[in-house]
Protein backbone atom coordinates (compact mmCIF):
# COMPACT_ATOMS: atom_id res chain seq x y z
CA UNK A 1 0.00 0.00 0.00
CA UNK A 2 1.39 3.36 -0.92
CA UNK A 3 0.01 5.12 2.13
CA UNK A 4 1.65 2.30 4.07
CA UNK A 5 3.52 4.03 6.90
CA UNK A 6 0.45 5.50 8.50
CA UNK A 7 -1.64 2.49 9.50
CA UNK A 8 1.38 0.37 10.40
CA UNK A 9 2.80 2.81 12.90
CA UNK A 10 -0.60 3.22 14.48
CA UNK A 11 -1.08 -0.51 14.74
CA UNK A 12 2.26 -0.92 16.49
CA UNK A 13 1.13 1.43 19.23
CA UNK A 14 -0.54 -0.03 22.33
CA UNK A 15 -4.23 -0.27 21.42
CA UNK A 16 -7.02 1.52 23.21
CA UNK A 17 -8.87 -1.71 23.84
CA UNK A 18 -9.43 -5.07 22.27
CA UNK A 19 -10.49 -3.72 18.92
CA UNK A 20 -7.86 -2.45 16.51
CA UNK A 21 -8.13 1.22 15.74
CA UNK A 22 -6.33 3.04 13.01
CA UNK A 23 -5.93 6.29 14.95
CA UNK A 24 -5.56 7.05 18.63
CA UNK A 25 -8.17 9.14 20.39
CA UNK A 26 -5.95 12.25 20.28
CA UNK A 27 -5.43 11.83 16.54
CA UNK A 28 -9.14 11.42 15.97
CA UNK A 29 -9.85 14.55 17.98
CA UNK A 30 -7.20 16.51 16.07
CA UNK A 31 -8.61 15.40 12.74
CA UNK A 32 -12.14 16.09 13.83
CA UNK A 33 -11.26 19.59 14.98
CA UNK A 34 -9.59 20.26 11.62
CA UNK A 35 -12.81 19.25 9.84
CA UNK A 36 -14.85 21.46 12.18
CA UNK A 37 -12.45 24.36 11.61
CA UNK A 38 -12.67 23.98 7.82
CA UNK A 39 -16.46 23.85 7.95
CA UNK A 40 -16.55 26.88 10.24
CA UNK A 41 -14.16 28.86 8.04
CA UNK A 42 -16.11 28.10 4.87
CA UNK A 43 -19.40 28.83 6.63
CA UNK A 44 -18.14 32.15 7.97
CA UNK A 45 -16.71 33.16 4.60
CA UNK A 46 -19.90 32.26 2.71
CA UNK A 47 -22.03 34.08 5.22
CA UNK A 48 -20.07 37.29 5.46
CA UNK A 49 -18.36 37.81 2.10
CA UNK A 50 -19.72 40.80 0.20
CA UNK A 51 -21.23 39.63 -3.06
CA UNK A 52 -23.50 41.88 -5.05
CA UNK A 53 -26.24 39.58 -6.33
CA UNK A 54 -27.35 41.92 -9.13
CA UNK A 55 -23.92 41.45 -10.70
CA UNK A 56 -24.42 37.69 -10.85
CA UNK A 57 -27.71 38.02 -12.75
CA UNK A 58 -25.98 40.38 -15.10
CA UNK A 59 -23.04 38.02 -15.69
CA UNK A 60 -24.35 35.99 -18.69
CA UNK A 61 -25.11 39.20 -20.55
CA UNK A 62 -21.69 40.63 -19.73
CA UNK A 63 -19.92 37.44 -20.82
CA UNK A 64 -21.88 37.40 -24.08
CA UNK A 65 -20.95 41.05 -24.61
CA UNK A 66 -17.31 40.29 -23.93
CA UNK A 67 -17.40 37.38 -26.37
CA UNK A 68 -18.91 39.57 -29.07
CA UNK A 69 -16.29 42.26 -28.58
CA UNK A 70 -13.46 39.74 -28.60
CA UNK A 71 -14.47 38.30 -31.94
CA UNK A 72 -12.91 38.28 -34.51
CA UNK A 73 -9.40 38.07 -33.10
CA UNK A 74 -7.22 40.59 -34.98
CA UNK A 75 -4.31 38.27 -35.78
CA UNK A 76 -2.83 40.95 -38.03
CA UNK A 77 -2.05 43.05 -34.96
CA UNK A 78 0.39 40.46 -33.60
CA UNK A 79 3.57 41.43 -35.54
CA UNK A 80 3.00 45.14 -34.94
CA UNK A 81 1.95 45.32 -31.32
CA UNK A 82 2.61 42.08 -29.51
CA UNK A 83 5.58 40.19 -30.84
CA UNK A 84 8.19 42.48 -29.23
CA UNK A 85 6.36 42.39 -25.89
CA UNK A 86 6.18 38.61 -26.06
CA UNK A 87 9.92 38.31 -26.65
CA UNK A 88 10.49 40.66 -23.74
CA UNK A 89 8.30 38.44 -21.55
CA UNK A 90 10.31 35.37 -22.50
CA UNK A 91 13.58 37.20 -21.84
CA UNK A 92 12.34 38.32 -18.44
CA UNK A 93 11.41 34.73 -17.59
CA UNK A 94 14.78 33.31 -18.65
CA UNK A 95 17.03 35.95 -17.10
CA UNK A 96 15.04 36.08 -13.87
CA UNK A 97 15.27 32.29 -13.54
CA UNK A 98 19.04 32.52 -14.02
CA UNK A 99 19.39 35.31 -11.45
CA UNK A 100 17.05 33.52 -9.08
CA UNK A 101 19.09 30.31 -9.32
CA UNK A 102 22.35 32.20 -8.80
CA UNK A 103 21.02 33.83 -5.64
CA UNK A 104 19.08 30.82 -4.37
CA UNK A 105 21.74 28.09 -4.60
CA UNK A 106 24.15 29.60 -2.02
CA UNK A 107 21.23 30.35 0.30
CA UNK A 108 19.93 26.84 -0.24
CA UNK A 109 23.30 25.36 0.75
CA UNK A 110 23.39 27.56 3.84
CA UNK A 111 19.88 26.48 4.77
CA UNK A 112 20.61 22.75 4.46
CA UNK A 113 21.41 21.33 7.88
CA UNK A 114 23.87 18.73 6.63
CA UNK A 115 25.87 21.03 4.37
CA UNK A 116 26.02 23.86 6.90
CA UNK A 117 26.06 22.44 10.43
CA UNK A 118 25.43 25.77 12.09
CA UNK A 119 21.97 26.40 13.50
CA UNK A 120 22.23 30.17 13.42
CA UNK A 121 23.22 30.33 9.74
CA UNK A 122 20.51 27.76 8.92
CA UNK A 123 17.89 29.90 10.60
CA UNK A 124 19.01 33.09 8.87
CA UNK A 125 19.08 31.37 5.48
CA UNK A 126 15.64 29.86 6.09
CA UNK A 127 14.32 33.28 7.04
CA UNK A 128 15.61 34.68 3.73
CA UNK A 129 13.90 31.83 1.86
CA UNK A 130 10.58 32.26 3.66
CA UNK A 131 10.49 36.05 3.44
CA UNK A 132 11.38 36.33 -0.25
CA UNK A 133 8.68 33.79 -1.01
CA UNK A 134 6.07 35.55 1.13
CA UNK A 135 6.30 38.73 -0.92
CA UNK A 136 4.36 38.19 -4.11
CA UNK A 137 5.99 38.84 -7.49
CA UNK A 138 3.63 41.75 -8.06
CA UNK A 139 4.68 43.32 -4.76
CA UNK A 140 8.33 42.93 -5.65
CA UNK A 141 7.49 44.44 -9.02
CA UNK A 142 5.82 47.47 -7.42
CA UNK A 143 8.91 47.94 -5.30
CA UNK A 144 11.38 47.64 -8.18
CA UNK A 145 9.27 49.87 -10.40
CA UNK A 146 9.53 52.53 -7.71
CA UNK A 147 13.29 51.97 -7.54
CA UNK A 148 14.38 51.44 -11.15
CA UNK A 149 11.44 52.96 -12.96
CA UNK A 150 8.94 51.12 -15.16
CA UNK A 151 10.33 48.53 -17.55
CA UNK A 152 11.61 45.02 -17.99
CA UNK A 153 14.47 45.44 -15.51
CA UNK A 154 12.03 45.92 -12.62
CA UNK A 155 10.10 42.87 -13.74
CA UNK A 156 13.19 40.70 -14.06
CA UNK A 157 14.43 41.58 -10.59
CA UNK A 158 10.93 41.09 -9.16
CA UNK A 159 10.63 37.54 -10.45
CA UNK A 160 14.25 36.76 -9.57
CA UNK A 161 13.78 37.81 -5.95
CA UNK A 162 10.48 36.02 -5.63
CA UNK A 163 12.05 32.85 -7.08
CA UNK A 164 14.79 32.75 -4.43
CA UNK A 165 12.46 31.33 -1.82
CA UNK A 166 10.99 28.64 -4.06
CA UNK A 167 14.23 27.47 -5.65
CA UNK A 168 16.20 27.76 -2.40
CA UNK A 169 13.69 25.79 -0.39
CA UNK A 170 13.45 22.90 -2.84
CA UNK A 171 17.21 22.94 -3.39
CA UNK A 172 18.01 22.84 0.33
CA UNK A 173 15.63 19.90 0.68
CA UNK A 174 17.46 18.13 -2.14
CA UNK A 175 20.79 18.80 -0.42
CA UNK A 176 19.44 17.46 2.85
CA UNK A 177 18.32 14.29 1.08
CA UNK A 178 21.85 13.65 -0.23
CA UNK A 179 23.44 10.36 0.88
CA UNK A 180 26.11 10.73 3.52
CA UNK A 181 28.40 8.06 2.07
CA UNK A 182 30.38 10.05 -0.46
CA UNK A 183 30.28 13.16 1.74
CA UNK A 184 31.84 11.32 4.68
CA UNK A 185 34.36 9.60 2.45
CA UNK A 186 35.56 12.94 1.09
CA UNK A 187 35.66 14.70 4.42
CA UNK A 188 37.58 11.70 5.84
CA UNK A 189 40.42 12.35 3.40
CA UNK A 190 40.41 16.01 4.39
CA UNK A 191 38.78 17.53 1.33
CA UNK A 192 38.12 21.27 1.58
CA UNK A 193 34.55 22.55 1.66
CA UNK A 194 34.48 23.52 -2.01
CA UNK A 195 35.65 20.10 -3.11
CA UNK A 196 32.97 18.57 -0.88
CA UNK A 197 30.32 20.62 -2.64
CA UNK A 198 31.72 19.88 -6.08
CA UNK A 199 32.33 16.15 -5.76
CA UNK A 200 30.03 14.97 -2.97
CA UNK A 201 26.92 17.15 -3.00
CA UNK A 202 26.68 18.41 -6.57
CA UNK A 203 26.57 15.04 -8.38
CA UNK A 204 23.81 13.96 -6.02
CA UNK A 205 21.68 17.08 -6.24
CA UNK A 206 22.23 17.73 -9.94
CA UNK A 207 19.05 16.02 -11.19
CA UNK A 208 16.87 17.82 -8.66
CA UNK A 209 18.66 21.06 -9.44
CA UNK A 210 17.78 20.94 -13.13
CA UNK A 211 14.30 19.79 -12.40
CA UNK A 212 13.76 22.70 -9.98
CA UNK A 213 15.25 25.26 -12.38
CA UNK A 214 13.07 24.03 -15.24
CA UNK A 215 9.97 23.98 -13.08
CA UNK A 216 10.66 27.53 -11.94
CA UNK A 217 11.25 28.72 -15.49
CA UNK A 218 7.86 27.31 -16.43
CA UNK A 219 6.26 29.22 -13.53
CA UNK A 220 8.19 32.38 -14.37
CA UNK A 221 6.88 32.42 -17.93
CA UNK A 222 3.37 32.66 -16.47
CA UNK A 223 4.40 35.22 -13.88
CA UNK A 224 6.17 37.47 -16.35
CA UNK A 225 2.94 37.74 -18.31
CA UNK A 226 1.21 39.67 -15.52
CA UNK A 227 4.04 41.97 -14.48
CA UNK A 228 3.06 44.55 -17.05
CA UNK A 229 -0.12 45.30 -15.10
CA UNK A 230 2.03 47.20 -12.61
CA UNK A 231 4.32 48.60 -15.30
CA UNK A 232 7.13 46.09 -15.01
CA UNK A 233 7.46 45.18 -18.68
CA UNK A 234 6.48 42.28 -20.89
CA UNK A 235 3.26 41.32 -22.59
CA UNK A 236 1.27 42.41 -19.52
CA UNK A 237 1.88 46.04 -20.54
CA UNK A 238 0.17 45.41 -23.86
CA UNK A 239 -2.62 43.62 -22.00
CA UNK A 240 -3.04 46.50 -19.58
CA UNK A 241 -3.23 49.04 -22.40
CA UNK A 242 -5.77 46.97 -24.32
CA UNK A 243 -7.95 46.58 -21.23
CA UNK A 244 -7.82 50.24 -20.33
CA UNK A 245 -8.87 51.14 -23.86
CA UNK A 246 -11.61 48.44 -23.86
CA UNK A 247 -10.04 46.87 -26.95
CA UNK A 248 -11.37 43.43 -26.11
CA UNK A 249 -10.38 41.98 -29.47
CA UNK A 250 -6.75 42.78 -28.69
CA UNK A 251 -7.21 41.38 -25.19
CA UNK A 252 -8.35 38.13 -26.78
CA UNK A 253 -5.33 38.11 -29.08
CA UNK A 254 -2.95 38.66 -26.15
CA UNK A 255 -4.62 35.96 -24.08
CA UNK A 256 -4.37 33.56 -27.01
CA UNK A 257 -0.68 34.42 -27.34
CA UNK A 258 -0.01 33.83 -23.64
CA UNK A 259 -1.92 30.56 -23.80
CA UNK A 260 0.16 29.40 -26.75
CA UNK A 261 3.45 30.32 -25.07
CA UNK A 262 2.51 28.63 -21.82
CA UNK A 263 1.57 25.43 -23.65
CA UNK A 264 4.83 25.47 -25.60
CA UNK A 265 6.82 26.13 -22.41
CA UNK A 266 5.14 23.19 -20.75
CA UNK A 267 5.88 20.94 -23.70
CA UNK A 268 9.52 22.04 -23.69
CA UNK A 269 9.82 21.31 -19.97
CA UNK A 270 8.22 17.88 -20.32
CA UNK A 271 10.49 17.03 -23.23
CA UNK A 272 13.71 18.14 -21.49
CA UNK A 273 12.69 16.36 -18.31
CA UNK A 274 12.21 13.14 -20.22
CA UNK A 275 15.69 13.42 -21.71
CA UNK A 276 17.88 14.54 -18.85
CA UNK A 277 16.21 13.48 -15.63
Amino acid sequence: MTSGATPLSAAARPGTGDTWQRFTLAEKLARFSVYIAIAAAVGWATHSVEIIVEFIWDAPEQIADMGRRMWPIPWGFYPRGIHAALIETLNIAAVSTLLGVLMAVPVGFLAARNATPNRLINTIARFILVSTRSINTLLWALFFVAVFGPGALAGTLAIAFHSIGFIGKLFSEAVEDAHRGSIEALSAVGAPKLALIQYAYWPQVKPSFWSIALFRWDINVRESAVLGLVGAGGIGMALDTAINLFQWDRVALILATIFGVVIVAEMVVTEIRKRII
Binding site: M1, T2, S3, T6, A30, R31, V34, A41, V42, W44, A45, T46, S48, V49, E50, I51, I52, F55, I56, D58, A59, Q62, I63, M66, E88, L90, N91, I92, L98, V130, S134, I135, N136, L138, L139, L142, F143, A146, V147, F148, G149, G151, A152, L153, T156, P203, R222, E223, A225, V226, L229, V230, I243, L255, I258, F259, V262, I263, E266, I276
Partner: protein, 260 residues
Protein backbone atom coordinates in the same frame (compact mmCIF):
# COMPACT_ATOMS: atom_id res chain seq x y z
CA UNK B 1 34.54 18.40 -13.60
CA UNK B 2 37.43 16.52 -15.19
CA UNK B 3 37.44 13.06 -16.67
CA UNK B 4 34.83 11.42 -14.49
CA UNK B 5 32.99 8.47 -15.96
CA UNK B 6 29.42 9.56 -15.24
CA UNK B 7 28.82 12.76 -17.11
CA UNK B 8 25.18 12.62 -18.15
CA UNK B 9 25.02 16.28 -19.10
CA UNK B 10 28.06 16.64 -21.34
CA UNK B 11 28.09 13.48 -23.40
CA UNK B 12 27.35 14.55 -26.94
CA UNK B 13 28.56 17.46 -29.09
CA UNK B 14 24.90 18.23 -29.73
CA UNK B 15 24.28 18.75 -26.02
CA UNK B 16 27.29 21.05 -25.84
CA UNK B 17 25.91 23.03 -28.73
CA UNK B 18 22.63 23.25 -26.82
CA UNK B 19 24.40 24.63 -23.75
CA UNK B 20 26.26 27.15 -25.90
CA UNK B 21 23.01 28.26 -27.50
CA UNK B 22 21.41 28.62 -24.08
CA UNK B 23 24.34 30.72 -22.81
CA UNK B 24 24.25 32.95 -25.89
CA UNK B 25 20.51 33.37 -25.58
CA UNK B 26 20.81 34.37 -21.92
CA UNK B 27 23.53 36.90 -22.74
CA UNK B 28 21.40 38.39 -25.49
CA UNK B 29 18.32 38.45 -23.25
CA UNK B 30 20.26 40.20 -20.52
CA UNK B 31 21.56 42.84 -22.88
CA UNK B 32 18.03 43.45 -24.16
CA UNK B 33 16.87 44.34 -20.65
CA UNK B 34 19.16 47.40 -20.71
CA UNK B 35 20.76 47.09 -17.34
CA UNK B 36 23.61 49.54 -16.87
CA UNK B 37 25.58 51.05 -14.04
CA UNK B 38 24.18 54.57 -14.34
CA UNK B 39 20.66 53.27 -14.02
CA UNK B 40 21.67 51.12 -11.10
CA UNK B 41 23.13 54.10 -9.23
CA UNK B 42 20.03 56.22 -9.84
CA UNK B 43 18.04 53.22 -8.73
CA UNK B 44 19.93 52.93 -5.46
CA UNK B 45 19.19 56.58 -4.78
CA UNK B 46 15.50 56.08 -5.53
CA UNK B 47 15.49 52.96 -3.41
CA UNK B 48 16.93 54.81 -0.42
CA UNK B 49 14.25 57.52 -0.73
CA UNK B 50 11.58 54.89 -1.14
CA UNK B 51 12.64 52.99 1.93
CA UNK B 52 13.02 56.19 3.95
CA UNK B 53 9.42 57.06 3.14
CA UNK B 54 8.21 53.61 4.16
CA UNK B 55 9.30 54.13 7.74
CA UNK B 56 7.62 54.16 10.12
CA UNK B 57 4.74 51.97 8.87
CA UNK B 58 1.48 53.83 9.18
CA UNK B 59 -1.31 51.81 10.76
CA UNK B 60 -3.68 54.77 11.13
CA UNK B 61 -6.19 53.50 8.59
CA UNK B 62 -6.26 50.06 10.19
CA UNK B 63 -10.02 49.65 9.72
CA UNK B 64 -9.60 49.67 5.93
CA UNK B 65 -6.64 47.32 6.31
CA UNK B 66 -8.58 44.81 8.43
CA UNK B 67 -11.54 44.97 6.07
CA UNK B 68 -9.32 44.21 3.07
CA UNK B 69 -7.47 41.40 4.82
CA UNK B 70 -10.72 39.82 5.99
CA UNK B 71 -12.05 39.88 2.47
CA UNK B 72 -8.83 38.31 1.17
CA UNK B 73 -9.15 35.59 3.78
CA UNK B 74 -12.77 34.89 2.85
CA UNK B 75 -11.90 34.73 -0.81
CA UNK B 76 -9.03 32.34 -0.15
CA UNK B 77 -11.18 29.98 1.96
CA UNK B 78 -14.07 29.87 -0.48
CA UNK B 79 -11.87 29.51 -3.54
CA UNK B 80 -9.84 26.70 -1.96
CA UNK B 81 -12.99 24.89 -0.88
CA UNK B 82 -14.71 25.19 -4.26
CA UNK B 83 -11.48 24.51 -6.14
CA UNK B 84 -10.66 21.28 -4.32
CA UNK B 85 -14.29 20.19 -4.55
CA UNK B 86 -14.25 20.63 -8.34
CA UNK B 87 -10.80 19.15 -8.88
CA UNK B 88 -11.69 15.92 -7.08
CA UNK B 89 -13.93 14.59 -9.89
CA UNK B 90 -11.90 16.33 -12.62
CA UNK B 91 -8.67 14.74 -11.39
CA UNK B 92 -10.30 11.30 -11.48
CA UNK B 93 -11.68 11.85 -14.97
CA UNK B 94 -8.26 12.94 -16.25
CA UNK B 95 -6.34 9.90 -14.96
CA UNK B 96 -5.15 7.86 -17.93
CA UNK B 97 -4.78 4.63 -16.00
CA UNK B 98 -8.47 4.54 -15.09
CA UNK B 99 -10.30 5.89 -18.10
CA UNK B 100 -10.01 5.81 -21.90
CA UNK B 101 -8.35 8.69 -23.74
CA UNK B 102 -11.69 9.89 -25.10
CA UNK B 103 -12.64 11.04 -21.62
CA UNK B 104 -9.24 12.04 -20.25
CA UNK B 105 -8.27 14.34 -23.11
CA UNK B 106 -11.10 16.89 -22.87
CA UNK B 107 -10.76 16.96 -19.07
CA UNK B 108 -7.02 17.42 -19.36
CA UNK B 109 -7.53 20.37 -21.68
CA UNK B 110 -9.90 21.95 -19.15
CA UNK B 111 -7.29 21.53 -16.39
CA UNK B 112 -4.48 22.89 -18.58
CA UNK B 113 -6.68 25.81 -19.56
CA UNK B 114 -7.33 26.62 -15.90
CA UNK B 115 -3.63 26.52 -15.14
CA UNK B 116 -2.21 28.40 -18.07
CA UNK B 117 -3.26 31.87 -16.96
CA UNK B 118 -2.03 33.64 -13.88
CA UNK B 119 -4.88 34.18 -11.37
CA UNK B 120 -4.56 37.93 -11.87
CA UNK B 121 -5.26 37.58 -15.59
CA UNK B 122 -8.23 35.32 -14.93
CA UNK B 123 -9.36 37.94 -12.42
CA UNK B 124 -9.42 40.60 -15.16
CA UNK B 125 -11.84 38.50 -17.21
CA UNK B 126 -13.92 37.74 -14.11
CA UNK B 127 -14.14 41.42 -13.21
CA UNK B 128 -15.56 42.08 -16.66
CA UNK B 129 -18.01 39.19 -16.29
CA UNK B 130 -19.29 39.63 -12.72
CA UNK B 131 -18.19 43.15 -11.83
CA UNK B 132 -15.79 44.49 -9.25
CA UNK B 133 -15.59 42.79 -5.88
CA UNK B 134 -14.92 39.59 -4.03
CA UNK B 135 -16.94 37.35 -6.35
CA UNK B 136 -14.60 37.97 -9.26
CA UNK B 137 -11.65 37.14 -7.03
CA UNK B 138 -13.29 33.95 -5.75
CA UNK B 139 -13.97 32.73 -9.29
CA UNK B 140 -10.44 33.59 -10.45
CA UNK B 141 -8.81 31.81 -7.51
CA UNK B 142 -11.13 28.82 -7.92
CA UNK B 143 -10.06 28.48 -11.54
CA UNK B 144 -6.41 28.60 -10.49
CA UNK B 145 -7.05 25.98 -7.79
CA UNK B 146 -8.73 23.62 -10.24
CA UNK B 147 -5.74 23.94 -12.55
CA UNK B 148 -3.21 23.25 -9.85
CA UNK B 149 -4.87 20.65 -7.63
CA UNK B 150 -6.42 18.97 -10.67
CA UNK B 151 -3.03 18.45 -12.26
CA UNK B 152 -1.30 17.19 -9.11
CA UNK B 153 -4.24 14.96 -8.23
CA UNK B 154 -4.26 13.44 -11.71
CA UNK B 155 -0.55 12.70 -11.43
CA UNK B 156 -1.04 11.17 -7.99
CA UNK B 157 -3.76 8.88 -9.33
CA UNK B 158 -1.62 7.87 -12.29
CA UNK B 159 1.11 6.78 -9.88
CA UNK B 160 -1.05 4.44 -7.78
CA UNK B 161 -0.51 0.72 -7.61
CA UNK B 162 -2.79 -1.10 -10.03
CA UNK B 163 -2.80 -4.29 -7.95
CA UNK B 164 -5.47 -3.01 -5.60
CA UNK B 165 -7.53 -1.79 -8.53
CA UNK B 166 -7.36 -5.20 -10.15
CA UNK B 167 -8.27 -6.88 -6.89
CA UNK B 168 -11.33 -4.69 -6.47
CA UNK B 169 -12.26 -5.12 -10.14
CA UNK B 170 -11.94 -8.89 -9.81
CA UNK B 171 -14.78 -8.86 -7.29
CA UNK B 172 -17.01 -7.42 -10.01
CA UNK B 173 -17.09 -3.93 -8.53
CA UNK B 174 -18.60 -1.06 -10.48
CA UNK B 175 -16.47 1.91 -11.55
CA UNK B 176 -17.59 3.98 -8.57
CA UNK B 177 -16.71 1.13 -6.23
CA UNK B 178 -13.28 0.84 -7.80
CA UNK B 179 -12.82 4.55 -7.23
CA UNK B 180 -14.04 4.49 -3.63
CA UNK B 181 -12.28 1.32 -2.47
CA UNK B 182 -9.34 1.04 -4.84
CA UNK B 183 -8.26 4.54 -5.80
CA UNK B 184 -9.26 6.91 -3.03
CA UNK B 185 -7.54 5.14 -0.12
CA UNK B 186 -4.29 5.34 -2.06
CA UNK B 187 -4.46 9.03 -2.96
CA UNK B 188 -6.58 10.69 -0.27
CA UNK B 189 -3.66 11.53 1.98
CA UNK B 190 -1.83 13.22 -0.87
CA UNK B 191 -4.98 15.07 -1.85
CA UNK B 192 -5.14 16.61 1.63
CA UNK B 193 -1.57 17.83 1.16
CA UNK B 194 -2.40 19.40 -2.20
CA UNK B 195 -5.47 21.09 -0.74
CA UNK B 196 -3.41 22.53 2.13
CA UNK B 197 -0.79 23.76 -0.30
CA UNK B 198 -3.44 25.29 -2.53
CA UNK B 199 -5.08 27.10 0.39
CA UNK B 200 -1.68 28.60 1.13
CA UNK B 201 -1.23 29.66 -2.51
CA UNK B 202 -4.75 31.12 -2.62
CA UNK B 203 -4.05 33.12 0.51
CA UNK B 204 -1.05 34.65 -1.23
CA UNK B 205 -2.88 35.35 -4.47
CA UNK B 206 -6.00 36.67 -2.74
CA UNK B 207 -3.93 39.59 -1.54
CA UNK B 208 -2.97 40.37 -5.14
CA UNK B 209 -6.05 39.99 -7.34
CA UNK B 210 -7.34 43.26 -5.87
CA UNK B 211 -4.86 45.07 -8.12
CA UNK B 212 -7.29 44.53 -11.00
CA UNK B 213 -10.37 45.17 -8.86
CA UNK B 214 -11.24 41.63 -7.83
CA UNK B 215 -11.60 42.28 -4.09
CA UNK B 216 -9.35 41.84 -1.09
CA UNK B 217 -6.48 43.88 0.27
CA UNK B 218 -4.77 44.24 -3.13
CA UNK B 219 -7.03 47.10 -4.19
CA UNK B 220 -6.20 49.10 -1.07
CA UNK B 221 -2.53 48.34 -1.56
CA UNK B 222 -2.43 49.42 -5.18
CA UNK B 223 -4.38 52.61 -4.43
CA UNK B 224 -1.99 53.50 -1.62
CA UNK B 225 0.93 52.85 -3.96
CA UNK B 226 -0.41 55.12 -6.65
CA UNK B 227 -0.98 57.88 -4.10
CA UNK B 228 2.64 57.46 -2.91
CA UNK B 229 1.44 56.64 0.63
CA UNK B 230 4.48 54.43 1.08
CA UNK B 231 4.18 54.27 4.86
CA UNK B 232 0.67 52.86 4.50
CA UNK B 233 1.93 50.52 1.77
CA UNK B 234 4.53 49.23 4.19
CA UNK B 235 1.87 48.67 6.86
CA UNK B 236 -0.22 46.68 4.36
CA UNK B 237 2.78 44.65 3.18
CA UNK B 238 3.71 43.81 6.76
CA UNK B 239 0.15 42.65 7.44
CA UNK B 240 0.14 40.53 4.27
CA UNK B 241 3.42 38.89 5.26
CA UNK B 242 2.06 38.21 8.74
CA UNK B 243 -1.08 36.64 7.24
CA UNK B 244 0.99 34.45 4.91
CA UNK B 245 3.28 33.34 7.74
CA UNK B 246 0.21 32.35 9.78
CA UNK B 247 -0.99 30.41 6.75
CA UNK B 248 2.35 28.63 6.47
CA UNK B 249 2.34 27.68 10.16
CA UNK B 250 -1.22 26.37 9.82
CA UNK B 251 -0.18 24.32 6.82
CA UNK B 252 2.70 22.71 8.72
CA UNK B 253 0.40 22.01 11.65
CA UNK B 254 -2.20 20.51 9.33
CA UNK B 255 0.39 18.21 7.78
CA UNK B 256 1.38 17.08 11.25
CA UNK B 257 -2.22 16.24 12.11
CA UNK B 258 -2.57 14.17 8.94
CA UNK B 259 0.96 12.82 9.40
CA UNK B 260 2.56 13.45 6.04
Amino acid sequence: MSASTARPFHTTPLARLGWLALALYLLWAMSSLDFNLARFIIGLDNGAKFIARMFPPNFERWDLLVKGLTESLQMAFLASFLGTLISLPLGLLAARNLLPRVITWPVRIVIIGCRSFHPVIVAIICVKAVGFGALAGIIALTVASVGFVGKLFTEAIEEISMKQIEAVRATGASFMNVVIFGVMPQVMFRFIGFAAYETDANLRNSTMVGIVGAGGIGGTLFAAFQRFDYDYVFAIVLSIIALIMVGEVLQIWLKKVFRQ
